[in-house]
């Protein structure tokens, strides 16, 4: 970009919280011709900082501490005016969407629904699997995209549906697709995340949820999150919908960065997806859990080992930072210095004979990621001795609600794990958002208290490590849920990967009988 000039506009008596201001700034910075943008209250101290950043213009003379300054370094005045109009647009409303606008209607067939709403272009199918294919076919034949929440759809049906969709230029998200956010509308299990310029495609529901929540926490936002169903990258299905979604995001002007999330695809599908990445023309972050980073790099993609790293790398690109914000993006899944100190301290309270990690997961992809981290930190042979259960798997949910909805199944396992004298750490995921339990943290906190009591009776302490996948805008509220778990003595981590890394550190420390370390805890007096 050529030379830029500082411009500013003052919005009198305008109040917004800092997260919202940062998001508006990110939106303005994405405009062509804008090099930098900042939104701050015009206090004398902040004006000094604006001046140090070269962003203090004459327009801010006379602005007071209750006025908001939108400062931009832009190529010319016309560009700056566009930026200010965008800011004004965002600042004029109360913020957030109006949930009360939706109207409730009563249609019984796809045809009736389409007749009622002629702009409709998507059908959500959530019938039992036996009927799902027929409903999805009806929708596709009418030229409608399909979000197929139903499971137990045979793979032959999936292939047929996806081939038809491909021929018609439509998307079939699923079957067994848990998560999508389309044009800001959450479908299935999804979180309330801010909109932005990162497009996600995932064959993994909780993977999509974890990445979208961490993107939101990094201050960036999501343009679209497209779930394709867990079997899409199977050799027989061929990644048809991941490729179709990738094409859509490549053509979407609101998407600047793309993230692909999946378990490692079949070899032939990998080759196809990597070839498509080469042709996209936008940065593509690829998180194929346990996949080969070299092949992704060779295809021009950006490999990410964990969901957290995928989110951090995409956010850094979307927000124009040269590097991800912190060691979140490190490919080294070991915990940081403070996590290690906390782990050593926790391990010091365990009794001899307590060594095993018991992961009780509600999200399948999160469980998969935890296994990967344990293998990486403890080594493949040692990791096998620990146990990571995916309680959302069909094996556990026959005739019972999914543990993201009903906590009872997991609570039973929690108590059983506590009774096992070898259990050192219980590792948990807590998934918030639309569709999930109203108060998963509260339900777990009670179960943890019971489990601890049972272990204490036998002279043992229990370490409980968890991460909460959610945002403060979710119906359950991230902060509220984290507070409940913290009050129950749970060691909380920012992401599932970090929680697993902490659990692994505790297991390592417990196995080596490490005494409480003092070196890592002596930083109190600066």
């Amino acid at each position: 970009m050529g030379p830029v000039t500082a411009f500013a506009r003052v919005f009198r008596n305008s109040y917004r919280d800092s997260v919202e201001l940062m998001q508006i700034a990110a939106e303005i910075e994405s405009l062509a011709g804008v090099e930098r943008a900042g939104l701050v209250m015009a206090t004398p101290a902040n004006r000094e900082v604006l001046a140090a950043a070269g962003l203090l213009s004459e327009a801010t003379i006379g602005a007071g501490p209750n006025d908001l300054v939108v400062a931009v370094a832009a190529a010319d005045e016309a560009v700056a005016d566009t930026a200010f109009e965008r800011a004004e647009d965002r600042l004029s409303g109360p913020g957030g969407g109006s949930a009360g606008d939706a109207t409730q209607t009563d249609q019984r067939t796809i045809a009736e629904a389409v007749a009622e709403r002629d702009a409709c272009n998507l059908v959500l199918v959530s019938t039992p699997g036996t009927y799902a294919t027929a409903e999805a076919l009806k929708a596709l034949k009418r030229g409608l995209n399909v979000f197929l929440f139903s499971d137990n759809v045979p793979i032959e049906d999936e292939i047929e549906l996806k081939e038809l969709a491909k021929a018609k230029g439509l998307l079939v998200m699923g079957p067994d697709c848990g998560t999508a956010i389309l044009d800001g509308v959450p479908l299935g299990f999804a979180n309330a995340v801010h909109r932005g310029s990162i497009g996600l495609v995932g064959a993994s529901g909780t993977g999509l949820q974890q990445v979208s929540c961490l993107i939101d926490r990094d201050g960036a936002g999501v343009s679209q999150a497209i779930g394709v169903g867990g079997r899409d990258l199977d050799e027989r299905v061929g990644g048809t919908m991941m490729l179709a979604a990738l094409d859509r995001l490549a053509a979407d002007p609101a998407t600047n960065v793309i993230v692909l999330i999946s378990k490692p695809p079949a070899a032939s599908v990998t080759a196809r997806v990597l070839a498509a990445i080469r042709a996209v023309g936008k940065p593509v972050v690829v998180n194929f859990l346990g996949g080969d980073p070299e092949a992704i790099l060779a295809a021009g993609g950006i490999p990410a080992v964990t969901f957290e790293e995928a989110a951090a790398r995409a956010s850094a690109i979307a927000l124009g930072r040269p590097e991800p914000a912190d060691e979140a993006a490190s490919t080294d899944p070991r915990a940081g210095e403070q996590e290690e100190a906390a782990a050593r301290e926790t391990a010091s309270r365990l009794a001899p004979g307590q060594w095993r990690i018991r992961g009780l997961y509600s999200g399948g992809s999160l469980a998969g990621e935890a296994k990967l981290i344990l293998t990486s930190v403890l080594g493949a042979a040692a990791a096998k001795d620990h146990e990571i259960l995916d309680l959302g798997d069909d094996e556990y949910t026959v005739g019972r609600p999914h543990p993201m909805i009903d906590p009872r199944l997991r609570n039973e396992h929690l108590l059983a794990a506590a009774m096992d004298p070898t259990t050192a750490v219980i590792l948990l995921d807590v998934v918030l958002g639309y569709g999930a339990n109203d108060d998963p943290g509260g339900a777990l906190a009670e179960a943890i208290a019971d489990a601890r009591k049972a272990a204490r009776k036998e002279g043992r302490q229990l370490a409980v490590v968890a991460s909460v996948c959610g945002t403060d805008s979710d119906p359950q509220g991230l902060a509220v849920q984290e507070s409940r778990l913290a009050a129950a003595g749970v060691l909380l981590a920012r992401s599932n990967a970090r929680a697993a890394a902490i659990a692994a550190q505790i297991a390592l420390a417990a196995a080596s009988g490490v005494a409480p370390a003092t070196a890592g805890q002596s930083g109190g007096q600066r």
Binding site: V40, M41, A45, V49, P65, G219, R321, S483, A486, R494
Partner: protein, 323 residues
């Protein structure tokens, strides 16, 4: 928008003890709505603010806790709207809403003189300061990159740590914020440890209005620091009274109100809860208390926590804590 046909009367859950006196002046007092947020409504009064907040958010100095739904912006109130306060009642005629104070005494935002002031509390703090800071740094890092939370990571990251954000996606002001806030807090600790009131006032002045947000990070940190001094009964707790000059010209109205209360020893219930947790005989209460404190605002809770920890360190280093 919600349009009410006739006045709705809502009985408040709780109120701070200064509120009835504000409302029993010659009535009805004509007032104006200052600002409306998801969780609070501020009313301009006597150069400060009277705040209506949700019961679950806890008591505030000059605050009324009242259940008005999950998003106050949906009530149809706007800044500048007329309000009248009379004996025990606030009336918002434009949205047909009356809020009535319940009978009984209000909540006191002052610290209990005996709560945290004993030598035992000081010894507890000296024993656990290290592990509390480790936990605090983890909480801050997990919750937000905004504000002065990275200062909790100490010398290892220091004032030029590139991992935090201030304004804008490229975090333009961030190194400046951390450098300035870090220096001011160090100066403030030194001033309190050496009993130097003019130096403390100078250092506090450097924090005012500094940083992002509706309550700039520097103000939140200063409120936390003052809370630690007041909770421990430190002889320098009152240094900010009168020493900070015209705060309203230097920070936002919301922050200026909180600072004036803090200088006078009045703090939100969540700050009381934080200090009680940090100094409780059971050391396991510290982390949950910090988690609850950190959940407040985008970065306000963490910023306040930074100030509280520095304030406790400063108080514990000198002779002031033990009476």
């Amino acid at each position: 928008m919600l349009i009410l046909e006739s006045d709705r009367t809502v009985v408040a859950a709780r109120f701070s003890d200064a509120v009835p006196a504000l409302m029993t002046r010659p009535a009805p007092r004509p007032l104006r709505v200052h600002s409306v947020f998801r969780s609070t409504i501020n009313i301009s009064i006597d150069g400060g603010l009277l705040t209506l907040a949700r019961p679950e958010d806890g008591g505030l100095p000059n605050g009324i806790l009242v259940e008005l739904g999950s998003d106050h912006r949906a009530l149809g109130m706007r800044a500048g709207m007329a309000v009248t306060a009379s004996d025990g009642e606030i009336h918002f005629p434009a949205v047909h809403l009356r809020i009535v104070l319940p009978p009984g005494r209000g909540w006191s935002p002052l610290f209990d003189p005996d709560a945290c002031r004993r030598d035992a509390a000081r010894r507890r703090w000296l024993e656990r300061a290290g592990e509390v800071r480790t936990a605090a740094a983890l909480i801050a890092r997990r919750r937000t990159r905004l504000g002065v939370g990275p200062l909790l990571e100490g010398r290892r990251l220091g004032a030029t740590d590139p991992t935090s954000a201030w304004f804008g996606p490229r975090m333009i002001g961030q190194p400046e914020l951390l450098a300035r806030a870090g220096q001011a807090l160090a100066l403030l600790r030194l001033a309190v440890e050496t009993g130097d009131e003019p130096r403390a006032a100078n250092a506090a002045g450097r924090l005012i209005g500094l940083g992002p947000g509706l309550t700039p990070s520097g103000d939140d940190a200063l409120v936390g620091f003052l809370a630690a001094l007041h909770a421990t009964g430190h002889p320098m707790a009152g240094f900010a009274t009168g020493a900070l000059g015209d705060i309203s010209a230097r920070t936002t109205a919301v922050a200026a109100t909180l600072l004036r209360h803090a200088a006078a020893g009045a703090f939100a219930e969540c700050v009381h809860d934080l200090l009680a947790g940090l100094l409780d005989p059971d050391r396991l209460t510290a982390t949950p208390a910090m988690e609850r404190a950190a959940a407040r605002g985008a970065s306000s809770g963490i910023d306040c926590l930074v100030g509280v920890l520095d304030g406790l360190d400063a108080a514990a280093s000198g002779p002031g804590w033990v009476q």
